[in-house]
Amino acid sequence: MRFEIEIRVTPREGIVDPEGQTIGQALGNLGYRGVHHVKAGRLVRFELDADDADEARSSVDRMCEELIANPVIERYEVQIRSPETASP
């Protein structure tokens, strides 16, 4: 079965996020009001063949720990869509 994977990596609490800050400032300079707590992160998407959602999840978790996120500075969230449930 093929799953659609989306991984969102964001800076851990307390870790500087210069990009997020700059986006916040830039939006301010452009005249946007009421923007708070801007955070910038990375996004990784792919398709994964796995027998079931659990297997998919556990191997995606390993990918994140091993490569995609750096636990020292980042946290990650995983979203798994199986073809059926898949929809925009």
Partner: protein, 254 residues
């Protein structure tokens, strides 16, 4: 005695490091290809700057899994001296051999200019030839050089005197203006608990000649001195880092 310069496909300071070793201090330098499993009997390892694997994802994130890095990590565990410069420093952090991480410069811009760094500790294989307090002029050239780590880690680094190089101004003060990338406490270079593994962002290998400046020579002279001193068998140094890197390796991979 042989010194290994690791060559990742995207390394671009490898030739400079090689030159610093053979022309700079007249020692033998060999390239170690990233796909190789053999350190070819090198007595010390240099991880040069560059963009190892394009620095996609995070600088150094992918490099740490290359075959040669397995050997380098084992070598470091046994107390072998390892120096990571710029991208090399980033790789050492990603590999968990050094604590913390290097994130995008606070300016969000690549920064390239000469900086001043102060030598704070001279009991490592890469700083022993300097005097404590020496202020060196070296270029930096990086986009991800902002050193960050948890408060507890920073405290430990300071207490254990593991900050080896710090960005300072012409008066030797670690001021904000002297800090090119927003690194915590102006940290430019650190070492591991065993004091055999050193990483720094500035480029000593670019200032090892009469023509371009000589402030970086000490880093390489220190290495030769310490290798001659230890006669190669890193005795007690062996255990300390062994335990350390063991847990660090977990930390890195968990």
């Amino acid at each position: 005695m042989r010194i290994g310069v690791v060559r990742f496909p995207g390394s671009n300071c490898d030739q400079d490091c090689h030159r610093a070793v053979d022309e700079g201090i007249g020692a033998e330098a060999v390239y170690l290809w990233h796909k190789s499993h053999d350190l070819e009997g090198c007595r010390a390892i240099l991880l040069p700057g560059g963009f190892s694997y394009g620095d996609h994802l995070r600088a150094g994130a992918i490099a740490r899994f290359s075959p040669i890095m397995r050997e380098v990590i084992a070598f470091a565990r046994d107390g072998g001296p390892v120096l990571g410069i710029c991208n090399g420093f980033q790789i050492l952090c990603e590999a968990g051999l050094l604590p913390g991480a290097l994130v995008r410069n606070d300016s969000l811009r690549f920064r390239s200019h000469p900086v001043r760094v102060q030598v704070e500790q001279t009991d490592t294989p890469f700083s022993s030839e300097y005097e404590e307090g020496d202020v060196l002029r070296m270029p930096i050239a990086h986009g991800e050089g902002q050193y960050v780590a948890d408060q507890s880690v920073i405290e430990a680094l300071e207490i254990e005197r593991r900050v080896i190089f710090r960005y300072v101004d012409e008066l030797g003060q670690p001021t904000e203006e002297a800090n090119p990338n927003g690194s915590v406490r102006n940290i430019a270079g650190i070492c591991d608990e065993g004091r055999r593994i050193v990483g720094l962002m500035p480029h000593p290998e670019r200032v090892v000649s009469k023509l371009l400046g000589t402030d970086g020579l000490g880093v390489f002279h220190s290495l030769i001195e310490s290798l001659q001193a230890t006669g190669g068998t890193a005795t007690h140094a062996a255990e300390a880092p062994a335990t350390h890197t063991a847990e660090a390796a977990e930390a890195g991979a968990s």
